[in-house]
């Protein structure tokens, strides 16, 4: 992400072509992962607009939901959902490496930390679904 910093005023950047990331599959995957954030940002804006429409009234909200039924938006949300899941999985995997959890003086195996994150994520997601749907 950040290039090494040089002392003094300026920052040092090695000369690289704008397409350097096409040179290796790993770099391409890195760039794809970074670009997914654009889809997530668009979803967040749409979600905020939905909240605003809910506040405006039933007709405004119904019109918004009807718009989101358009094939283009459905495709967008399918892609965004895949990207969001990709973020969740890669984030938890990275957490397992970065976050060192100790019990006493023994380190919890990273795989267990990752598994714990996944269990917590599934539990939180199911709770939100249950809370919104089963209780309505």
């Amino acid at each position: 992400m950040t290039a090494p910093r040089a002392a003094g005023s300026g920052l040092y950047y090695p000369k690289m072509s704008p397409t350097w990331w096409l040179s290796r599959p790993g770099y391409i995957r890195f760039m794809i992962r970074e670009v997914t954030s654009v889809f997530i940002a668009i979803f967040l804006v749409i979600l905020l607009i939905q909240v605003h429409k809910i506040a405006q009234g039933p007709e405004a909200y119904a019109a918004m939901v009807a718009k989101l039924r358009a094939p283009g938006w459905i495709v967008f949300h399918v892609v965004a959902l895949v990207f969001a899941l990709y973020h969740t999985v890669t984030w938890f995997m990275a957490t397992g490496v970065i976050q060192v959890v100790r019990i006493g003086d023994r380190q919890v195996p990273p795989a267990l930390v990752v598994a714990g994150n996944f269990v917590a994520w599934v539990a939180v997601s199911l709770f939100i679904l249950y809370w919104l749907l089963a209780r309505s």
């Binding site: 920052l11 979803f43 979600l47 905020l48 605003h52 506040a55 039924r69 969740t88 309505s136």
Partner: protein, 115 residues
Amino acid sequence: MSPGKTIEPFWWSLFSVGGVVAAFLLPVHLFLHGLAIPLGWVSLSHARLLALVGQPVIKLYLFVLIALPLYHCFHRLRFILEDIGLHGYRALLAVLCYGSAITGTIATIWVLLHI
């Protein structure tokens, strides 16, 4: 700021917290509000949604859900743009990206206060 210190850790911590929120909460909300409700797989009445978003604790939840991941997204976008060679515009990119996230935060607060 003293030499060698930058504001970078501040943005990075927002990036990190936003990443956690996005990882845990976004998939289920994307599924619900992007697919399940528009396609009619589930029914969630407007009256119930309105009653929900009117509650202070839900507003706080929505703030965390929407505003924090914005910092994560725009932090990444900033470095994508730098990585493809826009180093010369480093300061401008930082202003544009974090400015967008801050604008989004203000918009989120505005919407939540006008329910």
